[in-house]
Amino acid sequence: MSNFSTTQDHESTGISNQKLAMWLFLSSEVVFFAALISIYLFYKRLFALGDLTPEGLFDIPFTSVTSFVLLMSSLTMVLSHNYYEIKDYEKSKIWIFATAFLGIVFVSGQIYEYTEFIQSGLTISSSIFGTAFFFVTGIHGLHVVIGVVLLIATGSQMGISNSNRIYSLSIESLALYWHCIDIVWIVIFTAVYLIP
């Protein structure tokens, strides 16, 4: 109880400081990824690998499946938050681990995709296109990995905590972070993979 109330002591905007900080962080993430995606679009046509064009390399059906997995992870995350709000902690915990699992599936898909590209000759140092592509998708993948670690940590804490209330803001912040990862991928999937 005391831990929970001390986080609200300096609130003056009507919004909890943690929530406000999280939204500011997400806003900075939007600027960061907008810059990365712009750099990719800028350098997209600068490659020197013969037939290794973006159109020739990308496996759209496969990436569509991994995109769908990440989209569904947003659903499982929002379900976890929803069940948490109505105090069904068991279901909340199940969905938080389901989100982590889908995150792992997405990252595994990305690793498989990278392996295929590297075998085809596209590496981070093979061309400017390769550098831009691996940098944009790699930084996003790193965000997913961080999210998975946080999900597993939070889900595990829920199981051993005596007072689930103190995790309310943490789960909300984690859900916001995870949805932000999803919306960034929505843009990356369109800008990097689909737009010719």
């Binding site: 600027v31 712009s38 105090k87 369109t190 689909l194």
Partner: protein, 94 residues
């Protein structure tokens, strides 16, 4: 000031419906990629924007949040515009 926890009702059905809609848009995007070249980038950008707005508005709950949070999130987009503009200007795209 004590933070107020909203004990909301079960919205899981609503979220599942939204997720189905988002999945349909994604399938439509992929189908468009294979079937048409007609103004493809513009259509894909619009569909992507729709998905983006739905996730931010409903999953992230921004639609029902206070104006200050909406302002902060939009600020990120506003700050991105000069950077993108300069980049494309450098490339002589605009």
């Amino acid at each position: 000031m004590m933070f107020q926890i909203k004990h909301e009702k079960d919205n899981s059905k609503k979220y599942i419906q939204i997720a189905i809609f988002l999945s349909i848009i994604t399938l439509f995007e992929v189908a468009l990629f294979y079937t048409t070249n007609f103004n493809l980038p513009a259509i894909l950008i619009i569909l992507s924007f729709i998905k983006f707005v739905i996730v931010v508005g409903f999953f992230m709950n921004l639609k029902f949040e206070k104006k200050l949070l909406k302002f902060f999130f939009l600020l990120g987009f506003v700050l991105s515009i000069p950077f993108i503009f300069i980049l494309f200007l450098e490339r002589n795209i605009i």
